[in-house]
Amino acid sequence: MLLIRCPYCEMERPEVEFKYGGEAHLIRPNPNAASDEEWTDFLYFRANDRGIHAERWRHAVGCGRFFNCLRDTVSDRIVVTYKTGEKRPEAG
């Protein structure tokens, strides 16, 4: 089980308090201008790399807020968590 630091509560809490929210920093295409390929990419294609992965988590039974997280997908080590809207930090 992961130990995740909520950047709003500023506390490390067990994974069962959180809900995973998928890849972070996805930007919804403009519905008036996007091509089929852009929609396909947005709807179905996700980062699936070995290494650092940017993802969203929600502190479901805590503050209830979404935040972002960088985690190594090979070791599951969490590098850093940061608030929604903040720029993705340089991977450590």
């Binding site: 089980m1 992961l2 994974e15 294609f45 996700r46 980062a47 699936n48 993802e55 985690r71 090979v74």
Partner: protein, 416 residues
């Protein structure tokens, strides 16, 4: 060497010292007509059917570890075909047809045991969904039937059908032709049969890069055992498919998650069938060694760790103990996590990629074992001829652009 009563008798007389190795371990040749990446069940079956049905014998299967050492050797061995949509019924039904005669086909005992797979319904929603499944399956010629809780208990006497439990059993869907098979043997049997037809199985041979020619088509592979030239590459790398395909610049709609399973200490026979519950995410059967083989869910997040959170296993065991009170004092011997490649619609991807000469067979997610023979058979057709087999055609990568998804995520049984 063919296994037979005569060969067994001959070897018995010489103290079983003369059995030959079951497959060759050759050094890589500089070039092959086709290379399959990944020596799991699906990859080895692909190579076997390419050699047997398409006459392609100058073929290699490259594997970064040892053959059958990934999810093929780490699954709950369940075989069934009761999926909802026509395309799924066709592909899983195609795969199911191979199982009853697989041992004879490979001359290797796959121990297929069609002992029945029973899916438990715990609510009215489950009941309606399952009955819809049953009707759809029967229209497609796949046997599936509805059981009352009493009939379910008769079929599996250790089942708890007390209406007072948290998730009471309100009925079950039973596919009598489903069951289990010996997972390792499927890999070994295909490896042995493919090797006998001339296929080179190259273990400890990790792909490091893919070469492309001036037109963009594949021209070879760089591996830890040297460069291999080839015009056709079929990638069957399960959880690591995204990593391998990225070497050719191809992205896929896949996410890799750890899926866990565990086995108990061995018991005398207590369980005559496979029981699955999607609602409470647990399934169980008994191996021929007597261990109860228990399947849990996936972790929520993308990971290549080949391990999983203990809370996933723990919630599965809560469900198992409620469904089967007999299991409450059992010790679990070991658990493990395999990395499964899941697609957004929970159906596999078999077919072409944007790179000429590069084909992919992936996205079997949490339930690929049952499809091993059919998957290999269909993908062999794709790699050998360059065109999809009609049964595999709906499972193209293009469906995510066209929108013709085959949504088994909510339609079918979640667990596999």
């Amino acid at each position: 060497m063919k296994f037979s009563f005569a060969s067994l008798a001959r070897q018995a007389l010489s103290g079983h010292q003369g059995w030959p190795e079951q497959w060759r371990s050759p050094d890589p040749k500089p070039s092959y007509d086709a290379v399959i990446v990944g020596a799991g069940g699906h990859g080895l079956a692909t190579a076997y059917y390419m050699a047997k049905e398409h006459g392609l014998r100058n073929v290699a299967v490259v594997e970064k570890g040892w053959l059958g050492g990934g999810n093929t050797g780490r699954n709950t061995t369940i075989v069934r075909s009761n999926y909802l949509w026509e395309a799924s019924e066709a592909i899983y039904g195609h795969a199911h047809k191979f199982w009853p005669t697989l041992s004879q086909e490979l001359n290797y005992n796959a121990m297929f045991s069609p002992r029945g797979v029973m899916l438990l319904a715990h609510s009215h929603h489950d009941e309606y969904a399952f009955k819809r499944h049953i009707h759809a399956n029967r229209l497609a010629g796949i046997p599936n039937e509805w059981l009352t809780p009493e009939q379910a208990k008769e079929f599996c006497p250790i089942l708890n059908i007390d209406p007072g439990i948290r998730y009471p059993v309100v009925g079950a869907a039973l596919q009598r032709t489903g069951g289990t098979a010996r997972h390792d043997v499927v890999a070994w049997g295909y490896a042995r049969a493919a090797s006998a037809l001339g296929v080179d199985i190259l273990q400890n041979c990790e792909v490091k890069a893919m070469r492309r020619d001036a037109s963009g088509a594949v021209s070879g592979l760089e591996t830890t055992r040297g460069a291999i030239a080839t015009k056709k590459i079929g990638v069957v790398a399960a959880g690591n498919t995204s990593v391998v395909m990225a070497m050719a610049g191809v992205r896929l709609p896949l996410e890799s998650f750890p899926l866990q399973a565990l086995v108990s200490e061995p018991l005398k026979p207590v369980m005559p069938c496979v029981v699955m519950s999607n609602t409470i995410h647990a399934y169980m059967s008994q191996s021929d060694k007597g261990e109860l083989v228990i399947g849990a869910g996936t972790d929520a997040y993308v990971s290549y760790s080949q391990t999983g959170g203990l809370h996933i296993v723990s919630s599965t065991l809560d469900a198992i103990c409620e469904m089967f009170p007999i299991a409450s004092r059992l010790r679990m011997m070991r658990n493990w996590g395999g990395i499964v490649d899941t697609t957004p619609d929970r159906s596999p991807i078999i077919g072409k990629t944007p790179v000429p000469g590069l084909y992919v067979n992936c996205g079997w997610g949490t339930g690929g074992f049952k499809a091993t023979p059919g998957s290999g058979h269909l993908f062999a057709h794709q790699v050998a001829t360059g065109e999809p087999h009609p049964i595999a055609a709906p499972f193209s990568l293009d469906r995510f652009r066209s929108g013709a998804l085959i949504n088994e995520a909510t339609a079918a049984a979640v667990a596999h």
